[in-house]
C-alpha cells in the first residue's frame, strides 16, 4: 500500500512549532503546570530512586576518608543511612502529633514525599507527592524539619508544587526575633531571602530567629522559617537594614515534608 506522505516545508514546520511554543508560554500557568505534574507523576519512581542516589552520594562525598575503608565499612555505612532514611519516615508520622506542640490544634497535617527539587537556580521549588490529597489548596504552608519552607503554589492532586520562601516570587510576612514588627520577606534565589524596610534603630543580630506571621485560614500560629545570616545597613538607604535570611533546614536534602491545612473540612 502506498504511503501517503504529508510534505511540510521547513519554514512551515518551524512556524507551527514556534506557534505551539508561544501558546504554551501564554496559556494560563495552572493549565501548563499540568505537564510538569504529569511528568512528576509518571516518573515518580525513577525520580525518587535517582534523587536518593544523588542524596546518598552527596552525603558520602562530604565524609573524607571513607574511600580508604574496607568493603564491610561501606555496607555498615549504607545500613546506617538506610536506618536514617527510615527514621526520617518515622519523623513524618511523628509530625502528625505536632499540632499539640506548636499550637496547630485542629490543623490537618498531610505528609508528602519530595519528588523533585529545584534549588539555587532561577526558581526555587519542590514538586511533592501528597499521601492524602483531600483539602490541598494554594497558599497552604509547608513544613520541613519543623520549620516553614514555603507555600503551595499549585495543586494537581496528589501532586503539588511548593514555592520555597527563597524563590524570588515568594513574599511572606515575617517578624524577626522578639521585635513586634511585621515585614515582608522576599526570596532572593540563592538559597536565601531578604527582609527590607526595617529601621536600623531596631537591634538585629546575626542568628536571630525569623518567624512567619499568623495568616488567618492558613497559619494560626507563628513558626520558625529561618535565621538572620547577614545584617548590614542598606547601601541605598543607610537608615534601613539589609537583612539576609537563610533556611534553618537543608531543604535540598529533605525527603519528606508536611502540608499544614489549618481548617480541614470533614
Amino acid at each position: 500500500m502506498a504511503r501517503k506522505l504529508i510534505r511540510v516545508s521547513r519554514r512551515m514546520l518551524f512556524t507551527w512549532l514556534m506557534l505551539a511554543g508561544l501558546i504554551l508560554l501564554f496559556a494560563p500557568q495552572n493549565l501548563t503546570n499540568n505537564f510538569q505534574f504529569a511528568f512528576a507523576r509518571l516518573f515518580r519512581l525513577p525520580l525518587a530512586v535517582g534523587r536518593n542516589i544523588s542524596l546518598f552520594t552527596r552525603s558520602w562525598q562530604s565524609r573524607p576518608g571513607i574511600t580508604n575503608r574496607r568493603e564491610s565499612e561501606y555496607e555498615n555505612y549504607i545500613a546506617n543511612l538506610t536506618e536514617q532514611l527510615h527514621s526520617e519516615r518515622q519523623l513524618v508520622e511523628k509530625l502528625t502529633t505536632l499540632r499539640n506542640k506548636f499550637g496547630l490544634q485542629g490543623a490537618d497535617l498531610i505528609p508528602a514525599d519530595v519528588v523533585t527539587a529545584s534549588i539555587g537556580g532561577a526558581h526555587c521549588e519542590l514538586i511533592i507527592y501528597c499521601r492524602r490529597e483531600h483539602g490541598l489548596a494554594k497558599g497552604q504552608f509547608v513544613l520541613g524539619d519543623n520549620s516553614i519552607i514555603g507555600t503551595i503554589s499549585d495543586v494537581s492532586a496528589p501532586n503539588a508544587k511548593v514555592r520555597l520562601f527563597t524563590d524570588p516570587a515568594s513574599k511572606i510576612p515575617v517578624r524577626i526575633g522578639k521585635l513586634n514588627i511585621d515585614r515582608v520577606m522576599q526570596g532572593s534565589g540563592n538559597n536565601s531571602a531578604k527582609v527590607s524596610l526595617l529601621s536600623t534603630k531596631h537591634n538585629i543580630k546575626v542568628g536571630d530567629h525569623v518567624l512567619t506571621c499568623k495568616k488567618p485560614g492558613f497559619l494560626d500560629t507563628s513558626l520558625i522559617i529561618g535565621t538572620v545570616a547577614r545584617c548590614k545597613p542598606d547601601e541605598q538607604n543607610p537608615s534601613l537594614w539589609d537583612i539576609t535570611v537563610k533556611p534553618v533546614c537543608d531543604i535540598e536534602r529533605l525527603n519528606s515534608v508536611t502540608v499544614i491545612i489549618m481548617n480541614p473540612q470533614e
Binding site: 511554543g21 525513577p46 532572593s188
Partner: protein
C-alpha cells in the same frame, strides 16, 4: 531519524537531569551541566535540518516540563537557537571538539538568557544571580558536552565521523 529511540532517549535524559545531576553540582549556586542543552547541539549538528528543527522544539519541551518554572520559555528558546544552529551548520561545519564546546557554550548562554527573558515577560520575578547561573551552566555543559556526544551517537546510531552538511 529513529524517532522511537529519540523519544526514549530524551525521557531517560530528562529523568537523569532532574534526579541524578545533583551529584556533579558545583558551587553554592548548584551549577550542573544541562544534558538537554548538550543534546540540542548534538542533534543540530548531526541531523538534517528538518529533523534538527523538530528535535530542538522537542528537547525544549522536555526542558520545560523538567527544569523550567514557566512552560514554553525553553520550547521557544531551544527551538529558535537549535534551528539557527542547524542552519549555521549548513554553512560552517562544527566537527571538532573545541568548536562543539564553543557551540554548546554560546547556545547555552543565549538559550538561558532568552528563556529567562521570556519568563520575565510571563511575570516571573527577577533574580540577581541568574546570569551567573546561566553562564556557569553553559560553561559546565561545554566542558562535558563533546564527550557525551559519543554515547549519544551510539544510542541514536548516528555516524559522527561522516562529514556532511545537510
Amino acid at each position: 531519524m529513529r524517532w522511537l529511540r529519540f523519544a526514549v532517549f530524551i525521557l531517560i535524559v530528562t529523568v537523569l537531569q532532574v534526579s541524578l545531576l545533583g551529584i556533579v553540582a558545583v558551587t553554592q549556586l548548584n551549577i550542573r551541566p544541562n544534558l538537554l542543552l548538550i543534546l540540542l547541539v548534538f542533534f543540530a549538528i548531526y541531523c538534517n535540518t528538518t529533523d534538527a528543527i523538530i528535535t530542538s522544539f522537542a528537547i525544549g519541551f522536555a526542558a520545560d516540563i523538567s527544569i523550567a518554572s514557566v512552560m514554553g520559555s525553553h520550547t521557544i528558546s531551544f527551538g529558535l537557537l537549535g534551528t539557527a544552529l542547524a542552519y549555521l551548520h549548513r554553512v560552517i561545519a562544527i566537527r571538532k571538539m573545541p568548536y562543539q564546546s564553543l557551540a554548546i557554550f554560546v547556545i547555552g548562554s543565549l538559550a538561558g538568557a532568552l528563556a529567562h527573558l521570556l519568563a520575565l515577560l510571563k511575570g516571573q520575578a527577577a533574580i540577581s544571580n541568574i546570569y551567573t547561573v546561566i553562564l556557569g551552566t553553559a560553561l559546565y555543559s561545554a566542558i562535558v558536552g563533546p564527550v557525551l556526544f559519543l554515547p549519544a551517537a551510539w544510542w541514536m546510531r548516528i555516524k559522527t565521523h561522516r562529514f556532511s552538511r545537510h
